[in-house]
């Protein structure tokens, strides 16, 4: 493996590790349930993405052929993280008592509590 590639892989690994740690720390540290949703769905996804880039580069250097596995895992994680966040937010809105949700800023209530029409 050439020196430039090694530097690139090491940088991706370090950045990925830091982002993953920030995501998990945010999950532990942030106060509100909706705030806690931000850290794992964004920071941890970026951290895993950087790790997968490093894995793809080492695989490319070792076998001289591109592997589709990293691309598949990356695409799947980046597609599913927003869906997971959406469903968790909906579950949180449904399980919280009506008065404890933050105001919407409009005359209407939150979407899954508002009457149609």
């Amino acid at each position: 493996m050439s020196l430039a590639l090694e530097i690139l892989v090491s940088a991706a690994l370090v950045v990925g590790g830091i982002f993953g740690l920030i995501g998990s720390f945010g999950l532990l540290k942030l106060r509100g349930a909706m705030q806690r949703l931000h850290a794992p769905t964004k920071a941890t996804t970026v951290g895993v993405g950087c790790t997968l880039i490093a894995s793809a580069l080492t695989g490319l250097a070792a076998t001289q052929a591109a592997s589709w596995h990293e691309v598949l895992v990356t695409a799947f994680l980046f597609l599913t993280a927003p869906l997971t966040a959406l469903y968790l937010a909906k579950t949180h809105m449904l399980t919280t008592p009506p008065g404890e949700l933050p105001p919407t800023g409009t005359p209407r209530d939150w979407s899954n509590r508002d009457a149609p029409g």
Binding site: E6, L13, G20, R36, T51, S55, Y87
Partner: protein, 89 residues
């Protein structure tokens, strides 16, 4: 240099995994608990990929793909169950 970076990344994700276990234990409600488990799955995928880089084997990526698939489906199924009372209507 690569081995140091690899050790650093493995340490970071292992620490993150431990933090997720703590967040799971301290979670005030069920959605928080589901979120902690989902983050645990994502951290587990990162740990598997990093172990694959460490050993130089491509086989571990298959396990990472399987974990990504099942983790997403289980999270959505649990949320759907809490939202609607059933998973497939």
């Amino acid at each position: 240099m690569l081995s140091y970076a690899l050790t650093f990344a493995l340490t970071c994700f292992a620490l993150g995994f431990a933090m997720n276990v703590l967040a799971f234990a301290r979670a005030p409600g069920l959605p928080d608990r589901i979120l902690a488990v989902d983050t645990m799955v994502v951290n587990g995928i990162a740990l598997i990929v990093l172990y694959g880089v460490k050993t130089g084997s491509g086989l571990y990526l298959e396990a990472a793909i399987l974990l990504a698939l099942t983790g997403f489906v289980s999270t959505i199924a649990f949320c759907k169950f809490l939202l609607r009372g059933s998973i497939i209507e």
